[in-house]
Symmetry: C2
Subunit: 153 residues, 2 copies
């Protein structure tokens, strides 16, 4: 790798860092008003996006320990944002779904990101979004948890 390429890649590393910060900024601000943290948004997002997710699947997706998930998940259930119902086929596992207010909160949080990204993709040229998705999908494929996303979606 020559110096010119390395310099370009360094620029890319900086961009990735700052872009992700922007990405998480607005939801973080909204969460703060509700006295919640980013982990709550992640839970709401994945439960909203993959309704009927089990606790174990959520753990695998977030790549956190059961103990680390326990508190924020319990809070969301107690606050009435998430339903936790036993699965019919295997009553040991619990299916997670959003309540109506959970849906509303998730929408409030993720809409900020969706609108923001939509605007940036619209302002960029044709094909830019596809290219961006291609790169990010390649990076995401390295995640073990991504394997079973297709089973749920």
């Amino acid at each position: 790798m020559d110096d010119r390429r390395k310099s370009q890649l360094n620029k890319i590393l900086v961009l990735f860092y700052f872009a992700y910060r922007t990405f998480t900024d607005k939801p973080d601000q909204i969460l703060a008003k509700h006295h919640l943290q980013r982990v709550h948004h992640r839970i709401l997002f994945f439960v909203g996006h993959f309704p009927g997710l089990t606790v174990n699947q959520l753990l695998a997706m977030l790549e956190v320990s059961k103990q680390a998930l326990h508190k924020p998940l319990k809070q969301l259930v107690e606050l009435g944002f998430i339903h936790n119902t036993p699965a019919e086929r295997d009553r040991r596992s619990r299916l997670l779904t959003l309540t109506d207010t959970g849906e509303a909160l998730e929408k409030e949080l993720s809409d900020a990101q969706r609108v923001f990204l939509d605007q940036i993709f619209t302002e960029a040229g044709i094909g830019t979004e596809e290219a961006w998705v291609q790169i990010m999908a390649a990076l995401s494929q390295k995640r073990p948890a991504v394997g079973f996303l297709k089973d749920l979606q």
Copy 2:
């Protein structure tokens, strides 16, 4: 925004999340071997990328408090990874630079990311990298700290 577009943007939110995890994965593993955390990598990366950065500039860039930066930065200085020398023009401010071993550690950490991203961009088609950079630059422009990057670079 119609349902189809919303669904596509949801997919994009998932990709962003998982892609960023992949991005931070390898350095995190290397850091763990050195008993360091992600914040140490950020410090090393920005000091390496913008040598002569002052403490205040680093604070603005990382968007953390002075107290939060204090401990990890002090550790890096004590471990001999970072030099901290008074600026000539204003001897109150301290210029941060990497030592030789600091350079080596930064290289070890960031090389993992550079090689990884280089590979993915190479495998993608022509113009894909440019498109990706365009989007991430648009997102990064929203950061207040990015404004003075040009002054340093």
